[in-house]
Amino acid sequence: MKRSLLALAALLAFATLAVSGELSLDVKEHVLGNGMKILMVPKPGIPRVVCHVYFKVGSINERPGITGSAHVHEHLMFKGTRVMGVTDFDKDSEIDRRIDALMDRIYREKYWKTDGDAAKIADWQNEAEALAKAEKAYIIKDDLWNQYVKNGGTGLNASTGNENTGYYVTLPSNRVELQMLLESDRMMNAYFREFYSEKNVIMEERRLSENRPGSLFDEQVNAAFYAASPYHWDVIGWMDDLKKMTKQDLVEFHNRYYVPNNAVAVYVGDFDPAAIIAMAEKYFGRIPKGPDLEPIRDGEPPQYSEKRMYGEGPAPTSLAMMFHTPPEGNADAPALSVLASVIGSGGGGFGPRGGPGGGTGRLYKLLVRDKQLAINASASSRPQWYVGSFQFSATPRQDKGVQPEDLEKEIWAEVDRIKKDGLTDEEIQKAKNRGEAMFIRSLGSTMGLASRLGRAELNRGWRSVLTDIDDLKKVTNDDVKRVAAKYFVKDNSLTAVYRRKMGR
């Protein structure tokens, strides 16, 4: 049985030289029996291998009440398993179960009732803390992290986004097996140890982002812009949900989404693909396939009216204009990308620390350089997997008394010009050249390449990184005029005006 599986696997493994115009990308692909995909890009030379695993799960797979759980889960994946991070699993889990039972009582008293008994809560809390202290005798702190580090692991991290979650390490080329072992172990044997103290860490992470001036307003703007789709909440989640989230929420989340048929592993570096396939069969291949997963259900309904938001606080006075656009892969996405590149490039990034302040975008030239009404002016297109957005941003010149609303009028005037005349041939060609060159440049980074391929694979397949460039090259001025007329309309927009008001 095992043999035939291997033979079948060998047949399935093939090299694919995908070509886009003159661009080509040599990605070797292999699918395990349980549905997990392995992508490989051999790059002989420096004896290092970038090893990434991506799961098709992010904050859009949450629901009200458990927002932030994709990210909390990612943190907990570093806190040990049934095998790793523990000296005596039976003794440890016995204490752990008692802590869970106490925390369940505390949560019910605290969050289910409006008049919970504070004294009881304090007693249980003390008891739970004593148990947590006792549990420490069986915990090997940050075992996975230590194993990677002492084996020369770099780029060690994980990240959670709206749509996907990635786990990263770069290892010496003779130690890739360690990654296969540890990553398959945390898929199969997740245990969520030290859940309650890690939630405190994450609440500190949320506070850190709250202290970035303007971030709380941005969170509200985002929530207002995305009314129905699960892009409505930020990846970090609402503070109330973080407080009340239970370990059981995470167990359910894990069992549903952390299955091999919902994952892709990517290897870029100095290795022999046959050896990677053999190891992947051995480690990831031992995990049973999970049930099929349904895509998210809610897109964004048409707004039918303009939305406006006003805020004030400790951040610079600014303007943001957002428009709903279609997701990645839609026929209108390439023209929107050209528009963002031509209107918006180089309009930000100015500051005392310099940075690549190339000011070639239309808005920069018009509002920053020629009319001198703004410090920055930029545009960006963000298609995403299920719903997209196009955004204009600008910061007015306060020394000249310019208001955000003045910039709004200027941007609308420019948008109207584009609806009528589109862009120049040279501008369109510039956007195409930039898109292609940036893509080629991105191939030079092994980590960047792994991340791009892995994420693309989970949505439209890794070849979409090439076909997107082909599609970009086909954009015409008629396409540009058409998408500008279709999406840049008031009823499809949210305009956010923010004014600085100094606090203490």
Partner: protein
């Protein structure tokens, strides 16, 4: 025949799975030995016309060329009444145009080619970088050297840059982390070029003549080192560089002496008020230069103390055990020619500010008092040895590292001897480094946060903050004027 083949295959598979048994724990894994020798800088070093030194590597894996020119120039050579000159120069080198091209024409052209051209003036090194498709190398090289050699600092773009820079000053005190890093250095280094801040007045006073003078003084071939990698022939690239540099006169550059007298701020708490729900904290003192013979011991020591992510003591204690913070640790910052800084750092909610500081202080004390464990030593040393090849992953970064070695006067065998120097670090030397370079009695504790709740503390550590040392309240200067805010 067919049957026989299947049998042989089956046997082969049995052997294969025996040889590669499935491990359940990392300790069961066996690794093949791996030999890696770092590239030798001398193999890539060459000298172009005008004495322009260069590190060049052909790399034909992608049709791209990357070139970075390092210039020994930065804000540390600046003057107080001209603060902001260097950042303006970095911005205007390209935007200010050249003798024959307008800045926006340069930007438009490079953008049309899908390339990038950028300049950044740092503390003591300036980098001007070009990235273009290989087919555009000649044109790109022309633009790069035009900008380096003939910047014109035209009036209109300079006026705009000054106005934008002044507007940006309004944001100087917005972010607690930026306030902390700026004020921590100001406290430790005192009043000197490293800590001078531009104001509305200094920006307004700067002229094109100032920028031209600075450029004329520092931007000469012998004060630069070029690093290039990409899809070209080395001979062709060198010929192109030589053509671009031809006739560019050198002169001896005289550098202002670095200010090496530092204040000794009184140990204690330095508190900066900012409405935030966390305190942003750095505690420490001045550090060392990276030419210090104890550099490698300090690196290993700090890895164990708080520099090694989750394998380090401060992270384990403050984050993992206590759940007090997301970011925490300790760091030695190094700067060329001056001692850097040392700091333990953490951001935590106001009520646990005092507690988190006390935990970090305990770790400072412990690493001075007790020897580190064998396990900690093994992890730290192995990390540096096993991850060594990582620094050479991209040819361009490798060439730039070599150029930097030479510019800062480090030996060219730095990378060749790196691992031996790490291997020579012992537990005894780690402890010695801790005792010498972590000095709690000289430490300042700087906090940016909301005074009332930070001072009050919480269950595990009740305030007031003066339990940690005498409290000095610092009032931030108005960033527009540099004077105390009214």
């Amino acid at each position: 025949m067919k049957k026989t083949l299947t049998t042989i295959l089956a046997i082969a598979f049995v052997f294969a799975s025996l040889a590669m048994g499935q491990a359940t724990r990392p300790s069961e894994l066996k690794y093949q030995p791996l030999q890696y020798d770092p590239p030798d800088p001398r193999a890539f070093r060459t000298e172009c016309a005008g004495g322009l030194r260069a590190y060049i590597q052909e790399d034909h894996s992608l049709p791209i060329v990357n070139i970075t020119v390092l210039v020994n120039y930065g804000s540390i050579y600046g003057q107080r009444d001209k603060a902001g000159l260097e950042s303006l120069l970095g911005d205007q080198l390209i935007k200010g145009g050249t003798a024959t091209r307008e800045g926006s024409a340069i930007e438009d052209r490079i953008d049309f080619l899908g390339g990038s051209l950028s300049a950044f003036v740092g503390e003591r090194t300036t980098t001007v970088s070009l990235s273009v498709l290989a087919k555009d190398l000649e044109e790109g090289l022309g633009l790069l050297f035009d900008v380096l050699r003939h910047p014109e600092f035209r009036e209109e773009p300079l006026k705009l840059a000054k106005a934008r820079s002044i507007e940006q000053l309004r944001q100087a005190n917005d972010q607690p982390d930026r306030i902390l890093s700026r004020e921590y250095e100001r406290l430790l280094y005192g009043d000197q070029p490293l800590t001078w801040q531009a104001t509305k007045k200094t920006y307004e006073g700067l002229t094109a003549a100032d920028l031209k003078a600075a450029h004329a003084k520092y931007f000469v071939p012998k004060n630069m080192i070029l690093a290039a990698a990409g899809d070209f022939s080395q001979a062709d690239l060198k010929a192109g560089i030589n053509k671009a540099v031809a006739g560019w006169a050198n002169h001896a550059v005289s550098f202002p002496a670095l200010v090496k007298a530092f204040p000794a701020p009184a140990p204690g708490v330095y508190f900066i008020q900012k409405a935030a729900n966390q305190g942003y904290i750095s505690l420490g003192h001045l550090g060392i230069e990276d030419t210090n013979p104890d550099y490698f011991s300090v690196q290993v020591m700090n890895f164990i103390l708080g520099g090694g992510g989750f394998t380090s003591r401060i992270t384990t204690k403050v984050r993992s055990d206590e759940g007090l913070s997301y970011n925490q640790g300790s760091r030695f910052v190094f700067r060329w020619g001056l001692p850097g800084t040392f700091a333990g750092y953490v951001q935590t909610k106001s009520a646990t500010v005092g507690y988190a500081i006390s935990l970090i202080e305990n770790e400072f004390d412990r690493i001075r008092r007790e020897p580190v464990s064998d396990g900690e030593m093994e992890t730290a040393v192995n990390y540096y040895l096993e991850s060594f090849a990582d620094g050479f992953q991209t040819p361009q970064a490798t060439m730039a590292n070599f150029a930097m070695l030479e510019m800062t006067g480090k030996p060219l065998n730095y990378y060749k001897t790196f691992r031996d120097k790490i291997k020579a670090v012992t537990k005894a030397r780690v402890r010695e480094a801790a005792r010498k370079y972590v000095q709690p009695d000289k430490m300042v504790i700087m906090i940016v946060g909301d005074w009332e709740p930070c001072n009050k503390g919480g269950d595990k550590w009740a305030g007031p903050l003066d339990k940690l040392g005498k409290v000095h309240r610092i009032t931030l200067p108005d960033p527009m004027t540099g004077l105390e805010a009214k």
